[in-house]
Symmetry: C2
Subunit: 574 residues, 2 copies
């Protein structure tokens, strides 16, 4: 039996040279990239001269998503005792989640078990959900995930420093019936359920003795929300219908319909207009029923009701399956925490530019959980002026002004954005435009020059990219904590003495992607560069498959693609 | 970006030469075996001379397991209109199911979507469960699988011929609490649930503030049933503990315990004694707590109670998770059907040697659903004798005897087994031993010679091997139905005129396998050949990976093995 003996030989070869096997697969899957593979190297605990462990600060990290996982990946400071609490014992590579809904990629291929990272880093992990943050006592209340038919367990945990990265929950905007009848697309389980539900829809529509209306109802897929997730899911579903359903369910294919509902004027409205137009045209060509300016007002078990925003007219339509992917909402534990720390009136948890939660001590928040409450230049304008006015003359000369320029730009990112928008080379030009050629500037001119700067303030989008950059930023701050406490590297404190410990967080936009199906992806890159097509698809993957994702995930995803390419998508309903 | 351009080049290459991609993967995965790949070739419908479709017989097949899937794979007769009804739209390669419980193999890799086969063969499939067989009206009642929050649908279906291959359900022997608290291991969902539950157990045991007793309880895994499935699951679980848990849950590893309970004297009691002994010793070495001669009498949410058979003493122990894999029970739809056709007193549905259900017309049953009610030689002995005694002399001469020898052996498989056991070359020797050297045999001597033959009658085991051979056998009968109706190829009818249409079903035992963990498999092969070790592991796979399983399944399983080998098992709880 030749197959037998080959396998056996291969087996004993790999048994003898395990690293050869690793290399073989890596070189197969890495696509010619750099080969880097190192076994786990747990951090050694810091020991004092007499061999005793030093008392470490306990850092508790809530969440294992983009923010938390990125923070943990980059954290490298042996002086912290790190404890991770998350109900999900894996990191989920969310950009590929829509691909899981039709089996282009397997859910297991886009998750990274957190225990692996814990082992490598010497961190602790507890599979539990934080249900209450008690900031005044520096302690959290956790509840264990409910294992089958066993009771959940509650327990307290102390912290010295808390890093909150619990993400957000889907936002139904209190639309009646959504919670009960719609699918969401945020977690791996959601994607698996959608996959099962899509296949079940086709199986149900293939049953005998159904009327045409019934089949049409069952196979009417409604996607609510024209953001990247909703658009990508619609596109993936369309691909599945065209590439696979036509073959495996030929008799019911004609009854399928995809409706994409968006309350705004256009889908992908955060993207460049060219992309929006391309996507809308492509969807039209594909036969996806695109309804913009339509708001969902209710979902029953059988019908979805939408309101045409212009006319107020309400239309109800039968549907088979609804996927809800519009906006994010705040988690109850964060809501409660906000009340506690005097942020009860805000829509979302606020941090300063160093990701420290406002109104409490030693708590950081990042990712979709929080937004940075960027300080306005106008609030601080007097302080800035008096700080710069070393001679206390009431005016700034060139030298005085130059001494704070760099700090202003570091402290207030909106300044640079404003200069860029006005196409000015530096802040001196801005001043010049307000003050003519005068070399001395008084407070009024200074105010006037900077008066419009704050219009450039923007909240960062709730994306994986932001969360992961914040995680990395925070970890790097933690890594140099001791050094920077002695020698601060941040900008000048305008309202106090000395300098800030760290540079504030600065987001670098590497581009946004919107996969549009048919192996086409729209990409919006920095510098107004828009690209649509196959090459963007690959660019998209290359960008996301950056440092956070392991070789394991990369090779699993590639092998899933190969599998799908050869065998098609699997239609088994498991 | 080199990775990008490589992928792009590979992509366009495979796009241009898709068959090259297929060949590439196949030659990678097939282990040097024969490369056979053909695209789907749907059967053409038979047309009469004037282009009209002939009226075809409608064959309804219930079930998509080993029996049903094998039948469908080999069925090749264009005169049948085939309709498959099964609640599971895939075939499940059950021998690898225990490997799914710890992630050695993915569930999706060992399933074969049935829609693929349907398309290739031009058969119809309906995802529904048969809930009632109405044999007198040749019709079945089906109920659709309940799609999320939608109501199930019921409908009738007519048949001309019914093939029942619905398998069996787990047998709890009415032990209280088993249904509610134990896991089973029969379906893909079961294996996935067990996998999740095992990981959850470790996460729960890792929670803070637990006593040692609580951790020990959570990590006490109990397996009930020392048959191949229970043994393999225990072995796989043990491998998981040793190879992975030690690394990812180092703090709780010491609290784990596996108990294997078996009511009989030994585990694997259907195997050769050498295998049983080897397995028991290996389990002892591995630290698996093996308790034979112990019967489970009850399972509560926290405790499992066992009775020592010898002493009657009942012991209750705390446990974390119970997997029940002992024996199979009859499905309700079959139970009801048996009452209907007068088999209500039997333990299991009976068919004749041609797999036709006894007591009704045009219904066949195979696999775990039914057993063959083998006819005794002694019941027919007078008929056989009189049929052979062409001269009606009251004795058989050599020539008369010879004329029926072949038919007897074909009709009654126990004869050959008996001869083999007695080490006799043929039936003539048997007669000689009873009759000395007399050339004429009377009925009494004839009876006496064959009197012990029926002791060799055995029910076939409820295995995948039997079901798949029965499916193939039945398909081949159906394929040559028209030919054999004109020219029967079976043995002489002793009680009627002419010959039987087909040879009766004859089971060929290709060996039994029991994977014992640590890449060791015990194999019992025909001719008392027993093999234990790595080579049997490969043999085991080669045998099962026979014609039924597609290249897709084969390559997926191999790639899962490669993944596990390189990256270890995944501990994400999805």
């Amino acid at each position: 039996m030749s197959s037998h003996s080959f396998s056996k030989r291969a087996y004993s070869f790999f048994k003898t040279y395990p690293s050869a096997a690793k290399l073989l697969l890596l070189s197969t899957c890495s696509g010619g990239g750099l080969l880097v593979y190192s076994d786990s190297n747990p951090l050694k605990r810091t020991l004092t001269a007499d061999g005793q462990e030093t008392k470490k600060k306990k850092v508790v990290v809530l969440g294992s998503g983009w923010g938390g996982y990125s923070f943990l990946s980059y954290l490298n400071n042996p002086n912290y005792d790190v404890q991770v609490v998350s109900p999900r014992n894996f990191f989920l590579f969310t950009p590929l989640l829509p691909s899981v809904t039709n089996g282009t990629v397997e859910a297991r291929s886009i998750v990274e078990p957190i225990r692996g990272l814990m082992r490598k880093k010497g961190f602790e992990y507890t599979e539990a959900e934080c249900v209450k943050i008690d900031a005044s006592n520096k302690k959290i209340l956790c509840r264990s995930k409910d294992g089958a038919s066993k009771d959940a367990k509650e327990f307290d945990m102390d912290y010295d420093i808390l890093v909150v990265a619990v993400g957000a929950k889907p936002n139904t905007f209190n639309t009646p019936g959504v919670e009960e009848n719609a699918h969401f697309l945020k977690e791996a389980e959601d994607a698996l359920k959608i996959r099962q539900s899509v296949i079940n829809s086709f199986e149900r529509a293939s049953l005998p003795d159904l009327t045409e209306e019934e089949r049409k109802k069952i196979l009417h897929f409604v996607v609510v929300g024209g953001g990247p997730t909703g658009v990508e899911f619609s596109a993936e579903l369309h691909d599945f219908l065209v590439e696979d359903v036509a073959k495996i369910y030929p008799k019911v294919q004609e009854f399928t319909r995809i409706t994409l509902l968006e309350a705004g004027d256009h889908i992908l409205n955060m993207f460049d207009k060219r992309i929006t137009a391309f996507a809308e045209e492509k969807f039209q060509r594909d036969g996806i029923d695109l309804k913009t300016k339509n708001m969902v007002v209710g979902v029953t078990a059988d019908e979805i009701s939408t309101k045409e925003i212009a006319t107020g007219r309400i239309v109800s339509e039968p549907y088979g399956m609804v996927v809800w992917s519009t906006g994010i909402g705040i988690r109850p534990v964060i809501k409660e925490f906000m009340h506690q720390i005097g942020q009860g009136q805000r829509r979302v948890l606020a941090t300063d530019e160093w990701l420290r939660v406002e109104g409490c001590d030693s708590v950081y928040a990042l990712g979709d959980t929080a937004t940075i409450n960027q300080r306005r230049v106008m609030e601080d304008i007097a302080a800035i002026f008096s700080k710069a006015d070393k001679g206390e003359t009431g005016t700034l000369n060139k030298k005085e002004f130059k001494s704070v320029v760099k700090d202003i730009c570091q402290r207030y990112p909106q300044v640079e954005l404003y200069l860029k928008k006005k196409k000015l080379r530096n802040i001196a030009n801005l001043l010049k435009s307000a003050n003519g050629d005068d070399t001395e500037v008084n407070i009024e001119t200074f105010k006037q020059a900077l008066s419009e700067v704050d219009t450039q303030m923007k909240n960062l989008p709730a994306t994986a990219q932001v969360a992961s950059q914040q995680g990395k930023y925070l970890a790097k701050c933690f890594n140099k904590m001791e050094k920077c406490e002695k020698k601060p590297e941040g900008p000048l404190r305008f309202r106090g003495e000395g300098r800030h410990r760290f540079q504030p967080f600065r987001y670098r936009h590497f581009g946004s992607f919107a996969p549009l199906g048919g192996e086409q992806t729209a990409a919006e890159l920095p510098g107004d560069w828009v690209s649509i097509g196959h090459s963007s698809q690959w660019l998209w993957y290359s960008v996301y498959a950056s440092k956070l994702v392991s070789w394991r995930t990369r090779s699993l995803v590639v092998s899933d693609w190969v599998r799908r390419f050869i065998f098609g998508r699997d239609s088994s309903s498991i």
